[in-house]
Amino acid sequence: MSTQEHAAAHVHRDDIGAKMGMWLFLFTELLLFGGMFFLYSVYRFVNQDAFHLAAKELNTIIGMFNTAILLTSSLTMAISIAAIQKNNRNLSIFFQLLTIVLALGFMVNKYFEWSAKIHHGIFPGGEELLAKSQGEILFFGLYYVMTGLHGLHVIIGVVLIGFMTRLTKNGVIRQDSYVKLEAAGLYWHLVDIIWIFLFPLFYLIT
């Protein structure tokens, strides 16, 4: 037998295994945010009044609006998976794109929210913020770090779903093989769920 070129390796497909791997990865994401939730709870315990004061400065309306956007985007993501299961490729692509649009809408809101705060001098190292009490500085520090990291996850999600749209178009994701889209959906739901926790912690508990 020639040793010049050998047959390609076997094709391995295990949808349950793939989903299991994705779930494990999502656990690690939860723990990543868990480290910050831990800091939040300790600092809130120590600085209850300051956290109460600082939270009043956040715009609950924008936060609520963003929560609604993100929840809707989770729905559209789920519909896109249902559509591919029914072999309706175009509908699936439509809902994936809609998810991306909603995600970008979330980021636009975030941009206005952040830039308004930064404009008022409330940012790490900003004079306005440094004049406040230590608890408030910590609150806004956590606010920027946690919503910032969440925003980064939203952007990664946009790129990820963008790839999925492409794969759906190419026919890689199809009725009998859509585990990749499901995994992207799981990731997107996680991004949504983390926001569901961030929203009350920063905006609602005042």
Binding site: M1, A9, M20, L24, G35, V42, Y43
Partner: protein
């Protein structure tokens, strides 16, 4: 020649070393998704980093041979012990066994053709190399290498002008690589075991990798976020750990050790797995207490995750907290001791063959016991306050990590290298190297127990003259150790290229699946997935006559 001893080429099989797929040559390796090739890629990278780490350690010891300045200034010394720690911890002992031998042998041992996510596996290697290069880059950039110690304690790590950000970001990337390897292994073990390979027929190395993989998945994200927060802190000055802005530096220590203590078990568990593999083979006895060894791995992973704060007994903690963490620390000793007792019980009345892998394993038990028992001493609050931040601690964790994990890696190298490369090293030279390493190790680290007890602080550049005899002994030990290491690695590397060729499938007489495939294994390990009916270490029922026949 028995039917099993046919060379790989004769019956048309192509080994993974000779396989030529879409890419050939160098690309055939760095683009390969074959778990065995990835294991070897890790091995090469790991050995390079190990050599660098040893060199730094050697220079550090040389500086400490006499009080005052010997070969370097204090700043260089600080950087060198930091780099020694970072490289040895993040680039050598943590990834060591899972990445090299786990990758290579885990799928074979459970009767699978590859891991569950081969491409992710390759990505892990790239992340590992990227992290390593970034760490090295931090040495070369202006500002100089980090000088914080591998623990990056706040607030110094925020205030120092050195390239801490690079080093920390490197550690973050390495953490990512570790997580991906862990989740790959968990999925592989759950989904890809061969028919009949029930949980309690899995080899013990697989069990230890399973426990390790869970720790990797569950603990590593915490260090990820912690390091990221410090990077953000340096970059933007958010103040989450800065007391002047209301933050609490002790919280950094909590977050840091929530990962870094379990990481100790990421390091030691696979080594314990190796020991459990090698002892029955070279004592030719069924392993004593298979289930206890398997479950003690899980117990160590579980309890090991709950004891982080014993690193902070002196950092300000409530008495209740100290008591609880002291108690939990003691509890971890129980599953560790179960393993040691089971190994010695396996050796009892065994027909022991002192081949090189076995020598390293016996040294492992000896050194790990010293390391473990001194660990219990530190779990006792009163003793911990005496020895905290002294070289006693340094001796303790070198006995556990180097004497444990390091010797585990050496044992694995001597045990499996012939299988991986189909070439045998010179066993006599291997034994000489072993004795040099073993003696050098003890001469190097044992004096640290004594001087630490007498009050020699760790990490110090200079010391009182009364400690000099210990430092001198220790430095001489480092020379013997390095000599031994050079001989060992020269022997192994030469054997990979020029050693005596082996075609026999089962050179040591092992009962696990990796000894039932060709040497070296073929691309897909198994042409047909085997059906497993036997338990892995049933030497009593093993037909010794057949082994003797095969030996002819």
């Amino acid at each position: 020649m028995s039917s099993e001893a046919i060379s790989t080429n004769k019956n048309g099989y192509v080994s993974y070393l000779d396989y030529k797929g879409k890419h050939t040559g160098f690309l055939g390796w760095v683009l390969s998704t074959d778990h065995k090739r990835i294991g070897i890629l890790y091995l090469i990278a790991l050995m390079v980093f190990f050599a660098v780490g040893v060199t730094f350690g050697f220079l550090m010891r040389l500086e400490l041979i006499a009080p005052g300045r010997t070969i370097m200034d204090p700043q260089t010394y600080n950087s060198i012990f930091t780099l020694h720690g970072v490289i040895m911890i993040f680039l050598f002992v943590i990834p060591g066994l899972p990445a090299v031998f786990g990758n290579f042998f885990l799928p074979i041992m459970i009767g699978a053709k590859d891991v569950a996510f081969p491409r992710l596996n390759l990505l892990s290697w790239y992340l590992y190399v990227a992290g390593g290069l970034l760490a090295i880059l931090s040495i070369l950039l202006p500002g100089g290498p980090a000088d914080t110690g591998w623990t990056f304690y706040i607030p110094y790590s925020v205030r120092t002008g050195t390239n801490v950000m690079f080093t920390m970001f490197a550690a973050f990337i390495l953490g990512f690589s570790s997580i991906l390897t862990g989740l790959n292994f968990v999925t592989t073990i759950h989904r890809l075991r061969a028919p009949g390979m029930t949980w309690f027929k899995m080899p013990l190395f697989t069990w230890s990798l399973y426990a390790t993989a869970w720790v990797q998945v569950l603990a590593t994200p915490i260090i990820g976020i912690t390091l990221l927060l410090v990077v953000i802190e340096r970059w933007l000055g958010v103040g989450l750990f800065d007391p002047s802005l209301g933050g609490d530096p002790v919280l950094f220590q909590h977050l840091f050790w929530i990962y870094s203590h379990p990481a100790v078990y990421i390091m030691i568990l696979p080594a314990m797995g190796i020991v459990s593999e090698i002892i029955p083979v070279f004592a030719r006895r069924t392993i004593f207490g298979y289930k206890f060894i398997a479950f003690s791995s899980i117990a160590i992973a579980l309890f090991g995750s709950l004891v982080w704060a014993h690193h902070m007994f002196t950092a300000g903690m409530s008495n209740t907290g100290q008591f609880i963490f002291s108690l939990l620390t003691m509890i971890v000793a129980i599953p560790s001791a179960i393993k040691v007792f089971n190994w010695t019980a396996t050796l009892y009345k065994g027909s022991i063959e002192l081949a090189p892998p076995m020598l390293y394993v016996l040294a492992f038990i000896f050194l790990f016991s010293i390391g473990g028992l001194t660990g219990i001493m530190q779990g006792v609050l009163s003793i911990d306050i005496q020895v905290h931040d002294t070289s006693f601690i340094v001796a303790h964790f070198h006995y556990v990590m180097f004497g444990g994990t390091g010797f585990g890696i050496f044992a694995a190298l001597h045990y499996w290298l012939p299988k991986m490369f189909a070439r045998m090293y010179n066993q006599k030279v291997a034994k000489v190297a072993f004795w040099l390493v073993f003696v050098g190790f003890n001469v190097l680290y044992f004096p640290m127990f004594v001087m630490g007890w007498l009050g020699m602080p760790r990490r110090y550049y200079d010391y009182l003259p009364e400690f000099q005899p210990y430092h001198l002994t220790s430095t001489v030990g480092s020379w013997i150790l390095v000599l031994g290491l050079i001989i060992m690695f020269t022997n192994l590397i030469v054997s990979m290229r020029k050693g005596q060729t082996i075609t026999k499938w089962n050179i040591w007489g092992g009962e696990t699946l990796e000894w039932k495939v060709e040497t070296p294994p073929t691309l897909e390990n198994f042409d047909d997935i085997p059906v497993v009916t036997e338990r892995p270490y049933e030497y009593r029922e093993n037909d010794l006559a057949e082994l003797e026949k095969e030996a002819k």
